[in-house]
Symmetry: C3
Subunit: 408 residues, 3 copies
């Protein structure tokens, strides 16, 4: 690249064009094995940030693509091969992610979602943020569908659906031509079949150089001529340092419901975490967040000392439900909690449908969902967010259901 | 290649050898990533035709091989990785193929045939011509088999079997040394396992330079020491321009039977097509073609104006049954019809067996099946084929069953 | 490599370091496509042995790694991609292996273990030595497990488990710095998942240059914080020349039990083999070997002339059970016998558990299993081993159960 002029300049007086690099394209028959770009390559004189694409080798990760974005302060790794999931995020001494028993970024070629009674998804599960969906999300089990002769038939849904194990068909890096030169990783994942869903997810994971935040913005399109059910849950998973004994979930909440009787037992402490405990059985709480005046939910996970946290902001019109998954099992089992905004809760789709939480997309229409993530690294910042949450809650008490929903 | 002499010359007076190029060989431990040959490389001074092998990249098609044959007039693309299926054919303004909701040539690594209740095959289904078989073809569902301890057991057959999702083990290009220098793409696909079928398919898809036709000739071998059931259906699929409102199927027919009650309702119009219609449920007609004096069936799909058509000729001794699959659903759902010569109809194998339509191969024996495809691009040509069909029908009326077979 | 000095020399007076070459490493993001080393590259002036790594291409073996070890007399081929199985062994005119109906080293990407009612494993089965395990081994069928909400659930186990279809994550070649310069192929295969087993297998397959023997030594580790059931069966398979009409199994035996009624019928001849016979239904015998004073079992397969044999020695504390699998079916069906030391017999795990043959590993603990294989190529050698076996049996008669175990 000619470093003496900006790649955005397309001639005197012209509107600047964004910098674009295609990394994967089924359309263009393209797969870039290795590539990187630095700030100075794009903005003359700039420095600090970089984007680096590589292909993993060895074992179960052979051929898996990853893209490491370093905004100069915050780093995250996107995995196009695993449905544009985000493997981990780091900033200073905060790490978003967890230590899963699954150690590699497993290629979808090796995943059989139907394995172990529909739990095969768990053989690749180690991302910081993995999407559940699109045809279905949630627990495995029988649900109905329309088969190829137009009859209602049943099929065994597999845990959390397919999207996390579908390689992206189109992947590109885009840098805004104007300051603050936002860095955007874009990808398209197709969950399309004949006599089945024709869903497409366009995602953009982006960050401003030097900032402590990033944004995930997805657009799900229904390319069918008919309406189509879909589900999406953003399964964001956290281990230490944000998860530890006495770390807490915080959020303005309208209502909280235990997922099952086992969760109901510890309802009073749903927002507090325990240390690792062998044999801990997951406890799940179903939360309706209370939005601000602009309709945005605000939730946070903060460490015990309340000097490290991650906060998540998203429109409740797009993601009205949050699943709080507490799995404070022994470290080797996967000591982890999930904060999971979604279009529903992680029941099997037939149950979600019963409760009216399986949206339908009309033909040719799209559904947008975006989440802003911010990492906080001082007591002051954490306290500020805590105060915003308290202000949002505004002295009201959330409805607390002491029993789970009747799913029978 | 030395262009000053023909590669066929092996010395003065010797018999000319065909030109051969091996593209894939498990035996020779070989996979050619990229390769092409032009007429002039093989026949000094010749021009117009070419063969081009490439490997696809990006998304679900990463690592998928395709071979594009251009005979100077007619082009077709073979996909060795997907069981030597044919992705599409073009000649002038005729296109054989369809616009499936599945947009990539999906690598079999990513296909789980058992997905969605045995309908996983539909996640890769977008070929012009895809073979169904070999151990089984047809609808998913339970059938019996002999298990590894010699007991009769049951297994869930998956839609249309495995052959379309097995990469070819041996692939070569052969050019005849003598005029008209027929171009032959050969491939071997193994459907072999322990305690199961030991079937092998050798296919040759060939064309004469400059012609408007091509031939598909398969030989299925049973390498077991025991007899072996098998099934094959040539699932040839067509969208526009041959499929459109008022386009028609034509063929000399002995008998036609609706596949089910839904097809029976529109029996009178079985040979006529509708335009795209959202919610159209597939209608399937089971046809016994009436052969000519040499035992050859002749069927055709022709557009509304009857100036574009494809015709198929094949021995009824090899392929006695034709399935006519009408799926004139909305364009985005896959507006498509299948003309499918086969050893049977697409019922589950246990039903086909009941009706005596599951052939058995003795040990060490082979079964041959060949189809000649011709593309017609003028009203005159189409009319000529129509007349041949009429002559074959010879004033006789086909038996028309107003009820489907009793499959109970 | 500088051939003038030994790579073991790390300086005057220093302890010699082993020669090491990493071929695959998920940790180091490494996959070596092609590599070889000869004796003289490692030991100045040495010759005769070599190690050669290559990657297979074509058909179902595309991308499969193999490592060929030639100790100067005996050769074996390890397949890291297929769970570090051993494809075949040759020495002089002895061949360990068999002619399976499956002709390629099939990539696990193409294997669906759940295919054909849980018999998908058979679509890749052609190794000389394939491991069955680790979460489960043996026949497919329903067994219980603990699911992700802590409930006891059931799942369909698939034939012989997953380990043979998991690519090794770490593979290296190690040569001892001191004579006799043992050649070691090491690999690590992870069978790890969330809400499931966290098992790891470290294997070393090694041989001394010029020798007629090699050793397989595995260490299975439980990385869970909880105890974990596991199973392993070393499924070593033999066709001609060791298997032929009137070839025999020999071994010091404490007890032999037919696997089922069909095997019971021919109990008296359990140690003798028939020639290939179409329609032969497998007969399986469950053997408790009688160990020597050091606790080691000794078993052998010897040809009819008793001038060719393979013997296997292993501690019964590690591998207390031997399955003798006789499958003397027609050659094209797979004429083969298995001598299979293991932690149990090949019943479904729920039956093995009932008989107390499913060991559990405490958290953080390992289980070791090693087998020494020796190839014998003269009547004298075979007779010597036969005599050792007779001496071990020491005039005692094994317990012979005329009925199978009650598995109901």
């Amino acid at each position: 690249m000619n470093e003496s002029s900006s790649p955005f300049d397309v001639g005197s007086g012209a509107v600047k064009q964004p910098y674009k690099k295609t990394l994967t394209s089924a359309k263009e028959n393209l797969h870039v094995e290795k590539w990187d770009v630095n700030a100075g390559d794009v903005i003359p004189g700039a420095k600090g940030w970089s984007v680096k694409k590589s292909t993993l080798h060895g074992g179960k990760q052979e051929g898996v693509d990853i893209i490491l974005v370093d905004n100069g302060r915050l780093k995250f790794t996107v995995c196009p091969t695993r449905g544009m999931g985000v493997l981990s995020v780091t900033m200073d001494d905060v790490f978003l992610g967890w230590d899963s028993p699954v150690k590699e970024a497993v290629h979808p070629n090796l995943i059989n979602l139907q394995s172990r009674g529909g739990l095969g998804w768990l053989e690749g599960f180690n991302e910081w943020m993995v999407r559940c969906g699109l045809e279905s999300a949630g627990h495995p089990g029988v649900d109905k569908f329309t088969n190829n002769v137009g009859d209602e038939a049943t099929m065994e849904l597999t845990l959390h659906g397919k999207i996390a194990n579908i390689p992206a068909s189109e992947v590109e890096v885009v840098i805004d031509p104007e300051p603050p030169h936002r860095i955007r990783i874009r990808g398209r994942v197709d969950e399309r079949m004949f006599y089945g869903p024709k869903l497409e997810m366009q995602t953009e994971i982006s960050t401003v150089p030097g900032s402590n935040s990033f944004r995930l913005a997805d657009v799900i399109a229904n390319h069918s001529a008919d309406e189509q059910e879909f589900q999406i849950i953003y399964h964001a998973n956290f281990g230490p340092p944000l998860l530890e004994e006495a770390s807490t979930f915080a959020g303005a909440v309208e209502r909280v419901t235990p997922f099952n009787e086992h969760a109901a037992k510890d309802l009073a402490f749903y927002a507090e975490y325990k240390g690792p405990q062998l044999g801990f059985i997951e406890q799940v709480y179903c939360i309706r967040p209370k939005p601000d005046a602009e309709g945005r939910a605000l939730i946070m996970l903060r460490n015990k000392a309340r000097d490290k946290a991650v906060s998540m902001v998203f429109p409740v019109s797009e993601l009205p439900f949050v699943t709080l998954w507490k799995n404070t099992n022994a470290v080797n089992e996967g000591y982890v909690t999930g904060l999971e905004p979604g279009t529903g809760f992680p029941n099997n789709r037939r149950i979600e449908r019963k409760f009216g939480r399986v949206p339908k997309l009309p033909p040719g229409r799209t559904y947008s969902a975006a989440i802003d993530f911010t990492i906080h690294t001082t007591a002051g910042e954490v306290s500020q967010v805590s105060n915003r949450i308290e202000a949002l809650q505004d002295g009201t008490h959330p409805i607390v259901d002491d029993r789970p929903e009747d799913k029978s």
